[in-house]
């Protein structure tokens, strides 16, 4: 099975001048290297803040409306993601409990199975 694992945004990740520290980048790279070694990683990317984003709103036959970011509901926004191979939801939950950086800082991961 494949899973989309999303890192939810935080006030820090949404801030205009947000830059992960060198040590955080290194810890995450080592974690990703480990996952890659286990054949887990299909994709992994970070997103820039929602200030650079846009939303396209559809409503019936009306021409879609475009709204520029930033978007207010920070905790519902996505800051980065993995697409991972996993045996089961429990397997991926156990793996992602070990993700670096989020522990000390606090944060939320959402894990969702991909349709096959």
């Amino acid at each position: 099975m494949r899973f989309l694992v999303m890192v939810k945004a935080s006030p820090e990740s949404e801030a205009a001048d947000f830059q992960p520290a060198a040590e955080e980048l290194a810890e995450m790279a080592r974690f990703n290297d480990r996952l890659a070694g286990e054949g887990r990683i299909v994709l992994t990317e970070g997103l820039t803040s929602s200030a650079e984003g846009a939303r396209v709103l559809f409503d019936g036959d009306v021409e879609p409306k475009v709204i520029d970011g930033p978007f207010a509901e920070t905790k519902e926004l996505v800051a980065g993601f993995w697409v991972l191979n996993g045996e089961s939801l429990e397997d991926v939950v156990a793996l992602m409990k070990e993700v670096p950086c989020l522990g000390p800082r606090g944060g939320v991961l959402e894990i969702r199975p991909i349709s096959e």
Binding site: L43, L47, T48, G53, F58, V108, L109, P113
Partner: protein
């Protein structure tokens, strides 16, 4: 530039009601068009949030696991594409043409994917690891 295009969930997707035959067909054509234009890097749909979980980290405590479903349907992700576009405007123009035969009200969010140059504190060690990762994972999506 690469963009993550997030299609938000709706009551139907959260209820596990699959897309209509018409939507599947039109979406297939739309995906094909994006492949021909050379912009489609990846695209997936998600199962309802009732099959998902959240892992909540707070300081030094053991992370807490919360099982789905999650309430705020319109903020949930229903599916996504990763698109390679010249700029955000090109991406927006593509997404405005996304098929919506059932006339659903809905929201699609477009977010730029960060590149190595976006990280000021990137070290050569990390860049080397990231490069290896890309080489290993490329072509799997």
């Amino acid at each position: 530039m690469r963009f993550m295009v997030i299609v938000k969930a709706n009551e139907d997707s959260e209820a596990g009601k699959g897309p209509s035959a018409e939507l599947l067909e039109q979406m297939g054509k739309f995906n094909e068009e994006m492949v021909k234009a050379g912009i489609l890097l990846a695209g997936e749909g998600l199962t309802p949030s009732s099959q998902g979980a959240r892992v909540v980290f707070s300081g030094t405590e053991e992370p807490k696991v919360v099982d789905g479903p999650f309430a705020e349907t319109k903020e949930l992700v229903g599916g996504f594409w990763i698109l390679q576009c010249r700029d955000r405007e090109e991406c927006i123009e593509w997404i405005k043409r996304m098929p919506n035969p059932d006339g659903h009200a809905g929201e699609v969010e477009i977010r730029r994917v960060a590149e190595a140059a976006d990280f000021e504190n990137m070290t050569p060690e990390v860049e080397a690891l990231e490069g290896r990762l890309r080489a290993q994972s490329s072509g799997q999506a």
